[in-house]
Amino acid sequence: YAKGHTVMIGFTGPLSGPAAQYGRDNVNGLEMGIQDINAAGGITVGGKNYKFALKTYDDHIDPTAAVNNARRLRSRDGARFIFNPVFNTIAPMMQINQQKGSEFLMMAYTSAPEVDAMKNPNTIAIPPPFSVYVGSYVKYALEKGWKKCAMVVTLGAYGDGWRKEFESAWIKAGGEIVADQPANYYTETDFSAQLSAALAKKPDFMLIGGPSATTGLVIEQARNLGFKGEFFMVDQAKLNYIAEVNFNNDLTKMNGVTGTARPRDLAEEEVIEPFLKRCLKDYGRSATSENLLNYGAIRILAAAMEKAGTVEDITAIKAAIPEVLPMDAKINLLPFIDLWGSRFILPGTIQKIENGQYTVPTTTFWWTKSDADFKKAVSSIPDIGNTNVNVPLEGYAK
Amino acid sequence: MLKLEQVYTDIGELHIIHNVSLNIQKGEFVTLLGSNGAGKTTLFRTIAGVLKPAFGTVEFNGIAIDKLPVHKIVDLGIVLCPQGRQLFPELSVKKNLVMGAFSLRGQKSKIKKNLDRVYEHFPILKERSNQLAGTFSGGEQQMLAIGRALMSEPSMLLLDEPSMGLAPLIVKQIADVISNINHEMDTTIFLSEQNANMALNITERGYVLESGKCVLEGLCKDLKNDENVKRAYIGA
C-alpha cells in the first residue's frame, strides 16, 4: 500500500514465553479482522481509500519492552491503535498514550476492572469485566443449594482479581470458602498438592482456572483424586479448547464443568460457522474468544473511522464508536452493544457441560439496572437462542 | 627414543620454552635441573601432550607426537607423573591405581600383575588400599602418584619434581624406588628436579634449564663439577 493510504494497527504482547499462545490468539483475531476489512475494499475517509495493516512485536510481558514497542509502533510504524492483551503491560502503556504528539488509542484486551478505574480517555478495553461471570456463577450455585467452595485459581493479577471478586460475592451470598489454594498455572503442571489440600475440606464445588490446557489438567487431577462435585472456570479457560487438548473431545470427561460459552454458541450459526472453519484452516486451532473479540474490535474501529471521517484523530474515532454500535452480526459476529466509559459493552455468556454435551448457554446483561433496561437490551441483540439473565454489576458506572 | 627438536611452548601470551632440543635413549635415566619457574613442568607437559608446542617437533620412537592428544600419547607408553600429583582425592588408593592402568583396559591379568608390583615397591599402598587418596600425607601421595604412573607399564616415565616439599627421609626413600624402577624394569626415566643433590646422585645424564632455555647438558659427574651448577644448585 502506498504511504498515506494505510491504517497501521499495532500489537504488542506475549509472543514467546509461557503466555505466547494467548498472545497469538489475539493476533490471529486481529489478522482475520484486517483481512476482511481489506477484502471488503478497505475504508473510505475524506475521499481516500485506506487499507489496514498490522504490525506485531513481542514484549514477553515485560513492561519495558511493551513501552519500547509502543513507542516504536507509534513513531516508526505510525500506528495510532495499539492492542495489548496483558494488564501488566497495559498499565505502563497507559502512562504514555496521552503524551502530546504521540497519542495512541490503547486497545486493552483485559477483563481487569483496574483499567476502568484509571479513566484514561485514550483507552478502550475490549472484553467484559470478569466480574460479569462472578454474578452468574453465584446465582447458579445458590440455586443448587451449595455451600462450600474451594478455589484453585491461577496466580497472577488476573487470577488474584477473580479470587477476590468471587470470594466476596460468595460470602456475601451466604456461602463459605473452605480452601483457597492458588497455583501458578503458567509454570506448574502438577496440582495434586493444592488439590489434595482443597479436597480434604470436602467442597461442594470448585472455582478453578487459568490458561486452558493447564485448567484441563486440574480438572483431570481433581477427578483422579476423587472429586465428584462441579467446577466453575474463570473466563480465561475455554471449554471447547480443554475438550480438544486435554480430553480428545470426549465431553463425558468434562461433565459438571461450567465456563464461558464456546464461540459456537456466542453468535448466530450462519455467521459463526464459517469463522470457526476459517480459524481451524488458517491457524490449525479452534477459535477462542480472543479471536472473536479482537476481530470484532478491529471491525468496530474501522467503522468508527469512516463515521468520524478521520483515521488519525483518535478522540473523534472513539467518540464515533457508540454511533456505529450495535453492528450487523454478519460484520461483527458478536453483539457489541455500546461503549461504557472505556470499555465495550458486551454480554457475558456462560455454559455448562452435562451428560457429555454442551447445554444451552446463559447470557448476563450486566450493564442493565432495571427490568426495562434489561428488556431493551435483550431485544437489541440478535437472538442466539440463549437463556438470558439479569445480574447487574454493582458499581459499574459509566 | 624421545627426541625434541627446537621446541617452543607458549602459555597464553607468555613464551615459556625457547628452542629446546634433547634426545633420550631407551633405558636411560636422565635428569632435568632448573630452578622454580625455569619451565621444567611446562616442558614435561609439552612432551606429555597437555600443552602443544608453538613450534618444533617431539618424536617418540620415530613417531611425531606433538599433535597427538594426551590419551594417545599415554597409549604409546609415555606417562607423566605430574607435579602436584593430580590424584583423585575421593577415590580409594586402589581405584586410583586401577585408573592408572586405564590404557590397559580389558587386560585383567596384566592389571593385576602391575598392581602387585606397585604394592611391592610401595608396601604402604597395599596396607591402605581402601583409604581415600585425599587423606594421605604429602609423602604418601607422592608414592601413590608414582605407583599410579607405573600401572600402565610405561616405557618412558616423566617424573616432575617428586621430591618437592618432602621430608629428607621420604626424599631418600623415593629416590631409592625410582632408581630401582629404572634398573629392574628397564623403564626410561626423565626426572625434573630442583634438588640437584639428589638428582645428580641417582641419574646418569642431565640437562639444565634456565628461563625456558636449555643452557647446559652433560653427564652427571661432569655437571657436578661445573662451577656454575655447583654455585647455583648444590651450594657450598
Binding site: - | 619457574g37 619434581e161 644448585y233
Partner: protein, 254 residues
C-alpha cells in the same frame, strides 16, 4: 611473645595437632620441622586463626587470641605466608603491598568517596611504606608489574614483603623456599635474617631444607604425628635420635 599452650586440632577422626605447646621469644628465629603431614601447617593455621583449635590456648604478648578471626589476629601483629606462594595475581606489585597495609589506615567508603584529607594522608602513608618495603626487597623496579611477570623467587620475596608491610611483630613463614634452587634459597635466607635484624620482626619458619634451617634458626621445634617430639638448638636437634629416626633418616645432606 607467642605462647602456644596444649593446642589440639582434630579433623573428623584425625588428630592433626596434639597437645602442642611451645613459645617464641622476641627477636628469635624459630623453625618448625617434621615429616609431611606432621601438622606444621596446621599449627600455623591454628595460630593465625584460619583454623580454630579443638582445645588449647594461643596468646601473643599475654593477650589471648585463640579462635579469633584471622584478620583480627593480623592486627595483633602476627603476619604469615602460605605454603604455596599466595599473592593477588590479578593486581600489580604495589597494589599487593598497599592492600596489606590497609588495616593500619582508616580508609573507608566515605573518606574515599569525598577524598577527605584523611584519605589523602592514609593513601600517601600506605604508598610510602610500600615503596620502603619494595626497596628492602630489592623490587623497586617492578612496582608496576603484574604478578605473573615476576620470577618465582621474586614472587616468594614479594609474598614475604606483603606479610611485613604492616610491620608485624611476628612473622610466620610456611616453606618460603619450597622449590627454589640453592642460590635462590640462600638469598631468601639472607632476606629472612635481614627481616629479623633490620625490621626487628620475630620469625617462625617451616622448612624441609635442613642445611638452611640449621644455619638460620635459633631454636627448632620438631613435630611428628601432630606431637612435639623434640625442641632445642640446631646442635641438639641434629643429634637427637628420635628426630633422626622420624625425620632426618640419618642423613643431613638432603
Amino acid at each position: 611473645m607467642l605462647k602456644v599452650e596444649s593446642v589440639t586440632k582434630k579433623f573428623s577422626g584425625l588428630v592433626a595437632v596434639k597437645d602442642l605447646s611451645f613459645e617464641i621469644a622476641k627477636g628469635q628465629i624459630v623453625a618448625i620441622i617434621g615429616p609431611n603431614g606432621a601438622g606444621k601447617s596446621t599449627a600455623f593455621n591454628l595460630i593465625t586463626g584460619t583454623l580454630k583449635p579443638t582445645w588449647g590456648k594461643v596468646t601473643i604478648n599475654g593477650h589471648d587470641i585463640t579462635g579469633m578471626q584471622p584478620y583480627r589476629i593480623v592486627t595483633r601483629g602476627v603476619a604469615r605466608t602460605f605454603q604455596t606462594t599466595s599473592l593477588f595475581d590479578q593486581l600489580r606489585v604495589i597494589d599487593n603491598l598497599m592492600i596489606a597495609y590497609k588495616w593500619r589506615t582508616k580508609l573507608g567508603f566515605w573518606n574515599t568517596l569525598l577524598h577527605l584529607p584523611s584519605w589523602k594522608r592514609y593513601q600517601e602513608r600506605a604508598f610510602a611504606r610500600s615503596i620502603e618495603v619494595l626497596e628492602f626487597l630489592g623490587l623497586t623496579a617492578k612496582a608496576n608489574n603484574f604478578i605473573p611477570t615476576l620470577s618465582q623467587e621474586e614472587q616468594k620475596r614479594l609474598a614475604i614483603g606483603v606479610a611485613i608491610v604492616s610491620k608485624p611483630q611476628l612473622l610466620l613463614l610456611d616453606e618460603p623456599t619450597g622449590g627454589l634452587i640453592q642460590d635462590e634459597t640462600d638469598r631468601i635466607t639472607e632476606l629472612i635474617r635481614k627481616i629479623r635484624d633490620e625490621q626487628g620482626i620475630t620469625v617462625c619458619i617451616i622448612e624441609h631444607k635442613m642445611q638452611m634451617i640449621m644455619g638460620l634458626a635459633d631454636r627448632i621445634v620438631v613435630l611428628n604425628y601432630g606431637e612435639k617430639i623434640a625442641e632445642g638448638s640446631p646442635e641438639e636437634i641434629k643429634v637427637n635420635p628420635d628426630v633422626i629416626e622420624a625425620y632426618l633418616g640419618g642423613e643431613l645432606n638432603a
